[in-house]
Amino acid sequence: MDQSDIRGAFFVECEDLVEALNDGLDRIDESLDAGPDPETVNAVFRAVHSIKGGAGAFKLDALVRFAHQFETTLDALRSGRIQTDPPLMALLHRSADQLSDLLQAARMGDASGSENATILAGQLAAAAGEVEETNDADAEDFGFVPMALDFDPVPADGVPAAATGGVFAIEFSPSRALYACGNDPSVLFRVLADLGQLEVQLDRSRLPDFDVLDWQDSWLDWRLTLITDEPEHQIDEVFEFVEDLCRLDVRPVVAPLPLPEPEPGPAEAAVAAEPVRPVEQRPGSIDENRASAPRATVRVELERVDRLINIVGELVINQAMLSQCVQDEGVAPRSPVRSRLDDFKSLAREIQESVMAIRAQAIKPLFQRMSRIAREAGDIAGKQVRLVTEGDGTEVDKTVIERLADPLTHMIRNAVDHGIEPAERRRATGKPDAGVITLSAAHRSGRVIIEVRDDGGGINRPRVLEIARSKGLVPEDAQLVEEEIDALLFLPGFSTSAVVSDLSGRGVGMDVVKSAIQALGGRVTISSHPGRGTTFTISLPLTLAVLDGMVVDVAGQTMVVPVAAIVETLRPRPADVHSLGSGDQVVAIRGSFVPIIDCGAIFGYREAVRSYHDSVLLLVETGRQKLCALVVDTIHDQRQVVIKGLENGYGKMPGIAAATILGDGRIALIIDPEEVVDLGSADPFALPEA
């Protein structure tokens, strides 16, 4: 293993760590009211810490600096010096995003930090309310220089819980003058900590936006809780020198707070002394939460897995051929050979499924990326948006996950931009200010269903129709049902128009989304309820190695057409087929004329047939919304086929997507409907004329 291998391994490991980090932050989000589970905070801290460690080894300075500041803030959270609240969580999420960006940059060989990282580091420092680093803040430096800091001012144990002297709540708001005189709150707090057990909590609610911040002023307040044996005047003495430079309120908390356990453990005393928040998490239950520890995994090169998948595909085909042979030999159905063969068959299937499962991955990392997209889009659009994910453990083929990223990003942005209404309009209709986008994944009948659902205003259908008409995408007098109007959003014309950005409905770039999904062998559909929101449903095959195909005959050749592209199959009546120009023919389907493409002729297998009474038409829909009728001779059946690439053996052939091996061992070519349609229509037009 040389240096670059180790470096590569580090970045791969970081992917997991970033995932764990985001995961932990999400969990903290969920339990915001109850307060974070210490184990989760620890996990988040560990993730950042590990990234920092690795980054240090590779001299990725910008990364180390940022991770260090991030870690410092998380440590403050861990030790209870600061509390989780929505602004802090937003900052932590943004920081996790930034960390991931820095990692990406470092991976590309860019070790320098970004301006954004510097700003965020400053915010993190401020959020941590760093006792130790206040000096730095004073010196106009927000403390992202790595420093060896000892963050354990609160001894977790050692101080007896039954500190009877008293519990004091101290509110301390330094003035600008306090800093100007060279005082440092951290020094004061350290002296206080000597008196007993001290809890420091930063109140940064007065802290303005960073770009309007006057750094010379004092924005930070502290709430302290001191458990001490000493009398109150000792506390006053600590603040003696700054009395007129701050607002100070020291008051004894009269009765010691009832503790959640009759006999508190030592670590609990610190928590119990925190007067504001009920503590649900008991130290004793931490161990139970460790059940979510990562399972053991093996990293394998994708190539090896693919080889295995190929071989297993062979095994299944071979088994089918063997069954055929045994049957042809006239072996009795109840013979031992047959039953052993059946066992073999089920074993082969089982192996195939297990091997396919190796490529499958939980969709979670993709969904986590989408949370980030939603956050960023919300910031840009100035809307409050919350992304809720469901079923993020759903497993999908790795390639599918990779190629879903772009279309999903598009859809999430669209949902934020066009789906969710501005807060005032939401309020007017009795909805909460914050819009909710739900991203869900589930397995349903051998396919993966992914939904992007928003609780926005729904599609403004009259407006959509009006625009489609004005752009000539539909005839003026066309009567469209609701679904047809919604489907207009997928028309390419919709994405290029400037008018659309004013549209309260949707439509930006949805044609791109649709073709990306179709390239994966999937479909996307819309359903929308005015005032209640819109749902986009993506249906995908489980794996790219297998395709739902319709097995057909074309001029004596067995071929496969992807079912995903087929809208319907029909036998045309002679009266429905019309000639158009020299040699071209169209078929009338429910009032519109659809061009006919003869597959046999396109592929050069035979002359174009003139009459289709013996043929079957496959009505296919391609990415650009063109309907086309493909002529085939017969349809055999519909089945799942294993996809074999052709490029290595022969090279790309127009109109052919790939090949597959049929049960009898012969190769069948898989038709690429999109290309066939392009081949068949020299001058493509967007929609069949109605």
Partner: protein, 152 residues
Amino acid sequence: MAAPRAASDLREVVAFRIGSQEFCLDIRAVREIRSWSPTTVLPHAPSYVMGVINLRGAVVPIINLAERLALGPLQPEARHVIIITVVDTQVLGLLVDAVSDILTVPPSAVQATPRVGSEATQTFVRGVIAIEQRMLRLIDMEAVLPTGGRAS
């Protein structure tokens, strides 16, 4: 490098027959020999590309060598064989009448292809080998390849 580049590379050759003529190939380019099985026809392929077969899961194109060498079309039958060859990374099948021998040939035995009129012969035959009253025509596999895209 699987295909013979220079005559001095030669050690063993696989001899085979198309019609009445005998040809040979460097044995290092030959992966296996199998019986004829029907091919799946490729659209718009040149006439000498017979289509593709399934070779244990790999999609392998089959060249009708007789047609490629302009020896007239050879109608495949069950008695014909396919020589599976590997050139660089590309796997390719050659339809021939029959495989006859495996011969060891000293490099000095390879003579330049006599200057004949047939363009196909000049292109695909790298040299001739005289051995025991026979003449083996040494096939240039790289020239035989229907390189991707060009075939369409």
